[in-house]
Amino acid sequence: MKDIYDIVVVGAGPAGLMVAKEMAAAGQDVLLVDIKKDIPLINRSCCTMLINEPNTHGETVHIVDNNLHFEKTGFTVKYSGQFVKLVKSSRLSPGGYKLTMANEKEGVAHPYTKEVILRDLLQEAVQNGVDILTETAGIKAENINGGVKVYLRSSHSRFLKEVRCKIAFAADGVNSQITRGLKLAKQRKYFGSYRVASYFLDEVDYPYWDSWITCVGKGHTQLGRGQIYMVPKYLPNAKPGDKPILDVFCGSPIGVPSKQSLDWCLQEGPFNEWFHNAKIVHKAACVLNFYTCIMNPVEGNIVVVGDAASFIETYCQSALVYGYRAAQAALKQLDTGKGYEDYSTFWRESFEYCWPGEIEKALQGFGLHMISDEELDYIFSLTDKEEYFGYVSENTAPRVMKEAIMSHIDQIKKERPETAKTIEKHWQSSAEDIVQA
């Protein structure tokens, strides 16, 4: 490791790996650091679904020859693993009724194996000559005359190491250490924090292998707070012909124990019979601090990419796109002295959560907290046999859900006038109300 590089990238998730490999491919001298010892290892909860809905965060991703092809930006990411094709996305009430969005032809989403993608990206980064430091934390980045000073600390050392570079990238994820130290972080609004516990389960007796399931309502967890999700996917070492496992996870506001809620759901929840013989083959977790997006993700020569700049998540696929775009913008900046604007404009225009009202809209599709379980069972009993065209994207699914429920509103008004009022009130709830509930 040297004291001076052209580029320092903090964080080797999809965003950081893409930046590092692209910058090195263009001849830059790049240092990439991560706190992990094994970069491709994924112990952070993530459904790793490829969201194939056109125009997701400004990009349309197709599976072409098993690889991920990014149509609008125009690049391909190699993938040598397997996909699960999900054709339905259902909201499931505690009584077992559903509201289903479906797309039989293209699928609603395609879970893949993130380890495989990261392993291949890492290999490319190494081939392109990126210097990689594992078990090393990025602590702070500071704009200095003509570049950036980045403070690093090895997991095994008490001392800070200073590295200078022309451009530094903060790609250290949703709870970004680097971003927290920047002025632009002060403009963000904080809503609250969630923690997630997730188990990968084998041997489940499960009826929805073709679906992404979001359990809504209070009856799925012991304390009635938090949400359970289920998604089939392949383990990193799965061979063709192997069965997928089921990733079941619980997200709950800080203060509510997510692991305890998950354990309770599997043992005593309304669908516990699916899990009587289940074996836990892997565990993951994560913490999400909910902040509004960074609207201008460049401060001096420090560029923020991926989840580090976003509200909750960009998705892996979009972390790759923003990484790619940020790298191109940085190369142009180095070349002409003007380039960052390309990236920040694209970010603001493509990432829906930068737009007014989008955060509220997305959250309304998940937290139906005002509606009681009994009412939910009633509403979903009306939609149970129907399928509405849609995908899993949190930016578009809430609209489909709203339309589905509202298509029955006359009947609900007649049979359950109080419920109809609650439903209408729900679509007005603020982001804070939903996160806190």
Partner: protein, 78 residues
């Protein structure tokens, strides 16, 4: 605080949440530097799998603090 490394799943979340930068990521799991930790509890509250617990680090010193308290009123009983 102390990390139960059997329970820690290695998500890495607590590392960036510690206000004292006391948490190291070693072998893909967390480890808390006992000298830097101020027992603020942030990491314990945040861990998704409840792998962090409060271990009283200096039991002898705690006792000593009570014994040496100059404001102690000897006649007060609990």
């Amino acid at each position: 605080m102390v990390v139960d490394r059997e329970e820690c799943v290695g998500c890495g979340a607590c590392v960036n949440l510690c206000p004292r930068l006391a948490i190291r990521f070693i072998d893909n799991k967390s480890y808390i530097d006992q000298v830097s930790c101020i027992e603020c509890g942030t990491c314990r509250e945040s861990c998704g799998v409840e792998a962090i617990y409060a271990g009283c680090r200096f039991p002898d010193i705690v006792l000593l603090n009570f014994a040496n308290n100059p404001y102690a009123d000897d006649t007060t009983t609990i």
